[in-house]
Symmetry: C2
């Protein structure tokens, strides 16, 4: 164990060098790419805790063990030859929106761009666990990746758990392909877990082992990380499913440095995507200068994918502020005040876009 | 014309919100990906001045006009059916290293990660220009992309020029595929210019027209942008070929937030890549705590691609500082003092990596 980074308190100060380093290596999706139903693989957002590991597919094995009757060790070919399905899934980083919080928790400084959608191909996890035969005392399944580093003073392979009930859900998969191609290294080659509806930290990349355990998992990434905490002393609530959110493609053209938007007066269609891990998107509204109207929803892409929306606007000369907000079928709606928490997770504050109409 | 962003003076201050916005949408290559001869397409760095445009390949046409005898208009299929070649090319953003300058010019805040290598497939530009028949008064060729926005107060489609001599070089190509696949939208789909050996701003993406002109091009991206200037009043020298540089894969494992590196004592191979737009890499040296030794060069990948290097190090417990520097066949060597300039371009300062050996 190496104590490297002390606990970092949220700051009201300017961006730090450490945050810049993280922003330079992690990757958001430029919002104009919300136009694609399925994000091109090279535009999918990336949050990589440690380094992208070099995994040799020929010698790689997936170990399934712990509290199981029949421990398994599978080659990539064996995983690929199992029954296959492809599912369209929107993933979002739990930290998306962190850098818009005030004070700002210190970690990857996402604004709003850490969301993307891909077509993932693989095999269901449940039948594999049934084959391994979960023991009667198994309560959780731990997924460990090959990426190794230090966080919160703890040296670790990245690892997260699911309860047995969550692990057995039919949409939970082990995936080896993305958008019809083998996973690229940065997306978890050769195999990653995929937990549709949950924030991305759950979908462990570079999967090396699956272990059934008899007590709730206490690894760093499970706790204290990824909790909604009021402050450092609050044990908090675990981060699980993706909170409802809508984002728009910023209309018009940008200024290079300020990213301010400029467009010509006249009719324009504003559009974007909306999603929720708690159920289908039921409604998207758009505000022009504070006046809300319903947007039109496009066809659903699947139970775990974002949904397109559009809104016809008659743009008049002057400065305007556009905003959008989504409501899901469970009745969740995006907040207009920041949902602040100590780790800066789950910030689904309404997006606002200033435009200058000429 | 819209004056949106005033001229921005370099700053000694902290990172600005505008720089964070740029860092969130542009993308560096995590340095561990220096391990790949050819960067996976989804890891290639991206610098996108405006928005990624939506181009319909079915209706897209490449126009070749201006001072030519036979103006051309080519469909993507017509471009693809021309004689084809594939070339391995290292591209680097001219602004790579900008955020390490002090004072810091305000633009995309790259540290050192804006470099990647791909296998590009397309057709030579020269024969196409010969087919169009350059007029006797043509002195430059202007390449215009479909990405539109405002920079320096000027509304523009992104455009850059080459002299006739540079445009006719055999390695200058129009490319429609990257790493064996059609270009992804963010890399210039359906067609981009590729100018091997030059900084990336020259390789215009989303190419829509090629125009021969009788006077040197005065577009914003040609001048005043991309010049080595002492200050705002200095007309400066144009940025052209990539300056010599070596980068290493940071050894050991990282701390998540600080990115500080930790490794175990013992023998370790340190490695990375080196490149130059002015000629082959002739030498790479590695310093351990200020003592320089020669690294071993790997096999060349081609005239315009980076070259691997490695260095065997006996790591001893304690804090160490590693550094690497390259020299090219033209005798250029990386500086140990920052090569400061007003726009923050071409900063090939030696990379230093602090490691804690346990």
């Amino acid at each position: 164990m190496v104590t490297s980074t002390p606990t970092l308190e949220p700051t009201a100060g300017e961006l730090t060098f450490e945050e810049l380093q993280l922003a330079a290596r992690n990757r958001g999706m430029p919002l104009e790419a919300l136009r694609y139903d399925v994000s091109p693989a090279g535009l999918h957002y990336l949050l990589i805790h440690f380094d992208i590991p070099a995994v040799d597919a020929a010698t790689w094995r997936l170990k399934v063990g712990g509290r199981v009757r029949n421990p398994l060790e599978l080659s990539l070919e064996q995983v690929r030859s199992r029954p296959s399905q492809t599912i369209t899934v929107t993933l979002e980083c739990a930290g998306n929106g962190r850098a818009r919080l005030s004070p700002r928790p210190l970690s990857q400084p996402w604004l709003v761009e850490a969301v993307s959608t891909a077509e993932w191909t693989g095999t269901k996890l449940g039948p594999l666990l049934e084959e391994a035969g979960l023991g009667p005392d198994a309560v959780e399944v731990v997924f460990t990746g090959a990426d190794r580093g230090i966080q919160g003073g703890v040296e670790q392979d990245y690892a997260r758990s699911l309860t047995i009930a969550d692990a057995m859900r039919p949409e939970v998969m082990l995936v080896h392909a993305m958008n019809g191609e083998p996973l690229q290294p940065q997306h978890g080659f050769p195999l990653r877990l995929l937990v549709p509806g949950w924030y991305g930290m759950t979908s462990v990349k570079w999967l090396s082992s699956i272990e059934a355990i008899a007590e709730p998992f206490q690894g760093y990434q499970q706790t204290p990380a990824y909790h909604y905490q009021r402050d450092a002393d609050d044990p908090g609530q675990p981060v699980t499913r993706i909170r409802v959110r809508a984002l728009m493609v910023p209309p018009g053209i940008p200024d290079f440095f300020s990213r301010r938007r400029f467009l010509d007066a006249g009719p324009i269609q504003v559009g974007g995507r909306a999603w929720s891990g708690a159920g289908p998107v039921a409604r998207v509204e758009v505000a022009v200068d504070g006046h809300w109207s319903d947007a039109k929803l496009g066809p659903p892409l699947g139970d775990f994918a974002w949904r397109s929306w559009s809104f016809d606007w008659q743009a008049t000369p002057g400065e305007h502020e556009l905003a959008c907000r989504a409501t899901d079928a469970a009745g969740n709606v995006q907040p207009s005040e920041q949902p602040w928490n100590y780790q800066g997770v789950g910030n689904n504050l309404i997006q606002q876009v200033a435009v200058a109409v000429r």
